[in-house]
Symmetry: C2
Subunit: 631 residues, 2 copies
């Protein structure tokens, strides 16, 4: 008998799944490139723009310097590529930063990596969605005032999709990813061809805004900041190593091929976008101003004009960026599950829900990313300084962990050790640059959040350790006294409900006391202090039971001058305890079961409230027995 | 050990009160005039303005016609005064419209009166607060854009004050009421003196806005609408008759004196305000426009200037109007209590809370009035057309009920019968005029709401009738089989918690089966299908119990492939039922008690969830036993 609410849930989130339905099919590189590369590839949509944003004060000169900024970024990408190829060999099931750091560098490093990753996952959602909405606003400028509501709407959609589970979403990812890559590699190639054909001075179809004279001179500092901002283009490269277990045989080969394709395409896109932007005189604009155009929007308009192709290309940017938020929705709950299983996050993070999704993680990610979007108004530019620190911290820890791993494997792995060592050193250096360059612009928030989160994780673990120690049963069961307990029947009035409870109570113990509270007030209150109830009780309960030779439940009337239902009962129980300290006591509550939600509005619900209050206020010595009754 | 939350509640709403603290002191006329007259007297602050608002299209001519409109209103007030004097004699404890109509005209009329009163109480809150805020905005025009938030803030304050209970609030009411009456009677007197001194052409100190030529000619229709709007000035006159029981001896004399004073002051204020407004050329302005000034604000400024007196007078208007909302907060919960005790409203409306307040009624009133304020933007003018219908419907029903009452009392009461008969006829006529005049402007909402509410009340009563019939126990208790039940212990793992539950279970029944769900997933899941648990169970539970000669609980492992905790258990129970149909079954749930709210975030809480699901899904045959454990 599914209720309306249940039907609505089924419609929105899908039917309940069995455990065995959770085993996903193994995939090859063709499916893996969009599924795992989305985050990495889509970073090309905001990485170069972030670098150009920093260079804006240089005016037209900014274009001269985008090249020197992109070279170390591409080099860094190469180092990361080589390093992660090795992680795939060493951890062919799951080489996520948390696992690698924990196993090789110890608990502290593992928690640091986990925290950094968690923060970056949250930021990735906010940045991906805000950049996607920026692409949409570039295409349809009328939407400019609605940036934040649009961001939150996209977030809600992605969240619902992930609460359904994304098992069936293969094609959903593949199509926009390949479309995006094809569109922009095509645009870049076409742009370069026009560049050559025009002898190095191509005429843009839609001219980008004129870049004036700079307001600042070029300094090492501004180049460093541009590099740091551009490094956001590399977030997501670790995705393949996190999910090696998802590949079909030969696992390592498929995973490495996937990594190669992703890094190759990303490098091509980054170089191409920077090169074409320079050639066509395209720089970053201010997202908070009307008329804002993203770099990719200017680039597509300049090379191909605002025809149908432009809109297809921009649609692919929007789709890819919003779906890149999805990468976090896959990774974050899984990471939280691992951390929760180790006791550092609340255990509900590790419980699969009806769709086999770790929905507590999904909900937490949606809430925190939504908060970030609201606080920063959905503007990518303001979020970028917080971003990439987590990713590079994880890169560094993961590579350092790999160095330890190879050293433990023996001297035959010296070459591999060297590669990961260089990786650790270079990503560590990049991290230092990013930190220095972005600290005042917002990175301090991330720097502050990391130790606070670690403290929280440690105190959660401490709570569980203490709880588990106090709950653990050691040695064989000691039984003790198993005489039937004294049962206190909470009696409101005589009814079918209470009759059923008396029958059940007498089947559990021969000693039942019926307790009735007088002076409670309300529609069922007795004005006579309970004397009518006592008379009815004697006639209809005591007399027939005595006739059968059964000890009838004694009726006790307790005044409740403050209309509290638990306090007089607890006082009475305390009195009974002093009289018979060895006796176990239980309260028997007759409950009228509600079938429909609206019935709750019509019931005073004293039974439910008594149950909740007793469980809250009583110590362990008091048991509660519920005798439900259905009308 | 009061928790922080409890302390906050105590601070905000006050400590819990004992039943005997609920007996209010009886009051005399001096305290009763402000307490019961607030609603009626404060109506003078919006009644004349509402009439003038309708006349605005007449331009300067509107002032000529305010007199002809006010004359029948004052006459009607006189009829009401005479009628309610008689109700006080006939019902010296409680002569509310609901009681009088129910007892004399029957259930249907009673429900009609109750519904009309409830709707008017809600509207009175919305109108009182919005008119009070209008007075504030007239005084401090900078607050004009914040009308709605101000209304909601005042509503929240009044609600909190009423959740505390208003027992101690005597002076709070007396001071502003007498201040308001003194200020405006003084203003009127001073204005009349200046009028006489200036030979009929007084010079206003602050000139009201110039009234241009009218855009419409005067018609009977516009005068009828002005009369209908002005009738809102009479709402609240019934308050004394509702609360005769609150007076000290001689009850009837005190109550009649109070009614006389209230009606006398109200008549003086209405005549005075209309007269002075006419003399000084003051009419209504549009509340939605910047620069809005209420009629009383214009009047005070014209006669006394914008000096300190002006601000004192306007502060008294604000206070009186906001406190007049309070009248509803006293009357509405009491009326709902009476209706709920008769079974036509949910029973929680009749349960006094920790402060002896009927807080369900208070909360419901606050929610519906808040909704009205939001929907109508906090603008008095838009709310007025809905108002007064309920009041006049109650007046009519109450008077008609009194006619029946006097007829039943015999022929000696013919004079009294005549007075109430005239009252019923005149208020009925006024109701017809109000309905016709306001129908399209919003009164249709009230007209629609009344039958819908009555339908709801009747279906609530039907629900209780059916429930009570099915729950009632007839005849002596029939005991039946009281063999101990079969207990199913919901076992997650062996622990102190489960050990305690085993001990308690064996004290209740010799037949205990431990049921463990495998394949649940989550951090406490067993990967081995339960074989390790079975081994531990055999060694630490079965063996020691067998050594003592006690039948040990059998361990049953149930797979939960869909991770539902109740479904496999219910299936198992159904199977047991077919095997032993005569056996009573109970589920024993070991529960780890949470002491702090944040612990809930850290617990998976399967015990609590199982308990809730069993009570929701099981039929009456399944009992639930909770064995709590405190770490």
């Amino acid at each position: 008998m599914p209720h309306t609410a249940q039907r609505l849930i089924d419609l929105l989130f899908g039917r309940r799944l069995a455990n065995r339905e959770g085993q996903a099919e193994k995939i090859g590189w063709l499916a893996a490139v969009p599924a795992m590369g989305l985050d990495g590839l889509s970073s090309s949509a905001y990485g170069p723009e972030a670098a150009l944003s920093v260079l804006v004060p240089l005016g037209a000169a900014s274009l001269t310097y985008i090249g020197p900024v992109m070279v170390p970024i591409i080099a860094l990408l190469g180092v990361l590529y080589l390093s992660y190829r090795q992680t795939i060999i060493a951890y062919p099931s799951n080489g996520g930063g948390y696992t690698v750091a924990k196993e090789n560098l110890g608990r502290g490093a593992g928690l640091l990596a986990a925290t950094a990753l968690m923060i970056d996952y949250v930021l990735n959602v906010a940045v991906g969605i805000s950049a996607g909405v920026a692409a949409l606003v570039s295409t349809l400028p009328a939407l400019q005032p609605a940036i934040l509501p649009l961001c939150l709407a996209v977030l809600a959609l992605v969240t619902i999709a992930n609460l359904r589970g994304t098992g069936e979403a293969g094609l959903l990812f593949a199509l926009p990813t390949y479309l995006f890559v094809a569109c922009f590699l095509g645009l870049i190639a076409f742009g370069l061809w026009k560049l050559v054909a025009a002898g190095g001075h191509p005429a843009p179809i839609v001219a980008p805004p004129h870049l004036g004279r700079g307001t600042e001179a070029v300094t090492i500092w501004i180049l460093m900041r541009a590099f740091a901002a551009g490094c956001t283009a590399m977030t997501g490269v670790e995705a393949v190593s996190n999910a090696v277990g998802a590949f079909r045989e030969p696992v390592v080969k498929q995973a490495r091929l996937t990594l190669t394709i992703i890094c190759g395409l990303l490098a091509l896109l980054l170089v191409g976008i920077a090169g074409v932007a320079q050639a066509y005189g395209i720089s970053a604009m201010d997202q908070t101003q009307p008329g804002y155009q993203s770099v990719l929007s200017q680039l597509a308009a300049a090379i191909a004009g605002r025809g149908p192709f432009y809109f297809v290309a921009m649609a692919s940017v929007l789709a890819v960026l919003c779906l890149s938020a999805n990468t976090s929705f896959v990774g974050f709950p899984r990471l939280c599950r691992l951390v929760a299983e180790d006791g550092y996050l609340p255990r509900p993070f590790a419980v699969p829900d009806r769709r086999l999704v770790f929905s507590v993680g999904v909900g937490f990610l949606a809430a925190t990313a939504g908060l970030l979007l609201i606080v920063f108004g959905g503007i990518t530019d303001r979020l970028i300084p917080l971003f990439a620190i987590g990713a590079f911290l994880t890169f560094t820890l993961s590579q350092a962990g790999m160095v330890v791993h190879w050293r433990r494997q023996g001297p035959s792995n010296l070459g591999r050790l060297a590669i990961n060592g260089v990786g650790a050193a270079v990503t560590g250096l990049a991290l230092a640059v990013i930190l220095a360059a972005k600290f005042l612009e917002g990175a301090w928030i991330t720097v502050l959040a990391i130790p606070l989160t670690i403290l929280l994780l440690l105190s959660i673990r401490r709570y569980y350790d203490r709880l588990d120690a106090s709950v653990a049963a050691v040695g064989p069961l000691v039984l003790g006294d198993i005489r039937p307990p004294l049962l206190l029947l909470a009696l409101q009035q005589r009814s079918q409900v209470s009759d059923r409870a008396i029958r059940f109570g007498l089947s559990l113990s021969p000693d039942v006391i019926a307790v009735h509270l007088t002076q409670l007030g309300g529609p069922e209150a007795d004005e006579d202090g309970g004397s009518r109830l006592r008379q009815e009780w004697n006639e209809t309960v005591v007399a027939p039971l005595e006739a059968q030779g059964i000890k009838p439940p004694r009726l006790v009337l307790l005044p409740a001058p403050y209309r509290e239902i638990h306090a007089p009962l607890l006082t009475f129980i305390a009195k009974l305890r002093t009289e018979m300290p060895e006796r176990r006591i239980a309260v028997l509550i007759p409950e009228l079961v509600t079938r429909h939600w609206w019935e709750r509005l019509l019931r005073v619900g004293r039974g439910e409230r008594l149950r909740a209050l007793l469980l809250k206020h009583a110590n362990s010595d008091l048991n509660v027995i519920i005798s439900p009754w259905n009308p």
